[in-house]
Symmetry: C2
Subunit: 390 residues, 2 copies
């Protein structure tokens, strides 16, 4: 086990009606003026935005609004938010939505007190030294952004999709999580969220670090819970228990609980970021295509942990033929993804002829000569994995 720091100071307020506590929580964390960031019309139509505004008014917290954040969030919205925050003298971002909204709020939070271009943080030109406080009312369990210090933004000019880690300053101070808010998610979006949280766990699970039994068991247990509840939630979208379990799984998948003390991989995420940047597909759907392909490639190059995963998560019978065990586990993962309506090939993702050279060129231009850690992928390897997803 490697040395590690576990630090998850976010206060997660979880359960029915918890959004009514938003104003009191904003007050507790000392904000004087809030900017509510949100996406499309669903939070308006559902009445959630009105309830959050009401809660802020009751707590006497002034606020302004920034709507229209789109999936695969873009830099132009961040610039708009930074300008508005400065004009309105905002000191806390309140993201009401899912990962895209939260990631935009984090980017704005980092950009407001910074003299240069916020994009500097994403290209590694500068480090986030301070930021406005970020808080969350979560509506989509998927990205885990409510419990992480990470943010992913796409630069419209050149379609560069990059991630930034700044847990010391960008981790939300609180996250309100009412599973009932997820009842109305379209099935496809629910499924994409499931793929995303599973991927967050698997990026940590597939490691060469030895002696990480507790990390492994937490990963496996969380995956088992997700798989069980996914089946329920697709049949019964208003099943509170299933929605609640999934929502919490999405958070612990990405707040550091899973995979402590291991070297993480993240190649599948980076392989996917190129797909969603260029073809504007949903991140979770891109992951359900690319992760099984990555795992299939690994059966030839580093099979051990894939085989352990097949046995412990998918109940494949143990055997000396680890490759066979691993491939059976991958087959069950794919069948699971398909059962909840997710694509497992480029074609099913709606991309008949992906430009694999462009994807791989962009990936290695953004991330360097080698990508990932479980096996350090060269551009040739990345192309092979993209091809396995055809």
């Amino acid at each position: 086990m490697n040395n590690f720091i576990f630090y998850s100071p976010t206060e997660f307020v979880f359960g029915r009606d918890t959004e009514t506590q938003t104003g009191a929580l904003v007050q507790k964390y000392g904000a004087r003026k809030v900017m509510i960031v949100y996406g499309g019309g669903s939070v308006v139509r559902s009445g959630l935005l009105a309830r959050v505004e009401d809660s802020l008014r009751k707590a006497g917290i002034p606020y302004c609004m920034l709507g229209g954040v789109q999936p695969n969030p873009i830099d132009t919205k961040v610039y708009e938010g930074i300008d508005l925050c400065r004009k309105e003298n905002v000191d806390m971002m309140l993201a009401v939505g899912g990962g895209s909204v939260i990631d935009t709020a984090k980017a704005i939070a980092a950009g407001v007190p910074y003299d240069g271009d916020f994009w500097d943080f994403y290209i590694g030109k500068s480090i986030v030294a301070k930021a406005l406080k970020v808080a969350v009312v979560l509506t989509i369990p998927a990205a885990g952004s409510e419990g992480s210090g990470n943010t992913v933004i796409t630069k419209v000019d050149g379609l560069q999709k990059l991630s930034l880690r700044a847990p010391g300053v960008l981790r939300p101070v609180f996250a309100v999580m009412n599973p009932e808010l997820t009842y109305t998610l379209p099935p496809f979006q629910t499924a994409c969220g499931i793929a995303d949280m599973m991927a967050h766990i698997m990026e940590r699970y597939f490691t060469n670090t030895k002696e990480v039994e507790i990390g492994d068991r937490l990963c496996e247990g969380t995956l088992l819970a997700i798989i069980k509840e996914a089946a329920t939630v697709m049949k019964e979208p208003e099943n509170y228990g299933a929605r609640a379990n999934l929502m919490w799984c999405g958070t612990i998948a990405h707040n550091g609980t899973c995979g402590v003390g291991c070297e993480e991989d993240w190649a599948s995420h980076f392989l996917e970021h190129e797909i969603s940047a260029i073809y504007n597909v949903t991140h979770g759907a891109g992951l359900s295509v690319i992760f099984p392909a990555w795992m299939t490639w690994m059966t030839e190059h580093n099979v051990d942990k894939i085989a352990q995963y097949a046995v412990r998560v998918w109940g494949v019978e143990e055997s000396d033929d680890k490759k066979k065990v691993a491939l059976e586990g991958i087959a069950r993962l794919k069948a699971f993804f398909k059962s909840i309506g997710l694509p497992v090939t480029f074609k099913e993702l709606g991309i008949e002829n992906p430009d694999i050279d462009r994807l791989a060129d962009s990936l290695h231009r953004n991330k360097g000569e080698f990508v990932g850690n479980y096996v350090k992928l060269t551009k040739k390897d990345s192309k092979e994995i993209y091809r396995l997803a055809l």
Copy 2:
């Protein structure tokens, strides 16, 4: 799943040599003067205390010392610490040790800024409104006190052993955790720590709350990791990986990770507190006696979760005869405890003729007419459970 708040703001700095970071961490958390609290001679003999002092000196942090905390820590040491802190104008407690040392440090932290008797907090006469900061260098993985806001103290006059929960103010700001510091723990103390962390998980796991799949899976996974690593560590006390896994299990067993959203039980802990208060046995050894007895009683009164535990944790084959499944699981738990040198009866604990009336009278005087939640135990029930442990 019930509504819950997950809030674990402690910064856990985990791994080899991390105690050398103590001074820098004290500085980061803004302390001006520290009181080091410790127990017996082992932290002196091992050189740990000297390394921690050295780290404080390097960071320019003045400190004073309070040694001599005993297992099953007592109120008189707390009064001594409160006096010393006030005299020395201390603003942070630094506990170097295990649960007893940390719990004493927390009691002092609560007592220093309070005008009345600190014992008021333990008997529910007053609520902890503020406290000195508490930080930890952990040497015994067991109590989980490094990640909790709980403390247990015994009042010498009357041998009343009571617990206090004040997570808002008493949770450590940081905990330094170097698994190497646990190499020299005597086997019996290692085993007692294992029983204690398993009990912390099982107090949460045995619940009537429905739809807690993720809580269950995290509990089961952590128990599986503990069981595996326990076998290794008893054979190879200097196995870093096994020590590291166990140490982290001890923390997540008690920081809220396990058992989210469920009604917790805690009857076994309270049944045990009476034993260790009156007979001064080690808490973990008392738990390895009382928990199987509590579970055995439950096979007649609320068998479901005990049977699930038997299947998922101990690999017992599923069957319609849940009682049989549950009893087989309990038999395996007892065999495990015995395999690591723990007692599973009063007699093995060295108490030939426990005064069951006195134990039960004291328990229900301290905790009220009903104890626990999985089944609310009357005094008659408690006596039956004590008898099952004979």
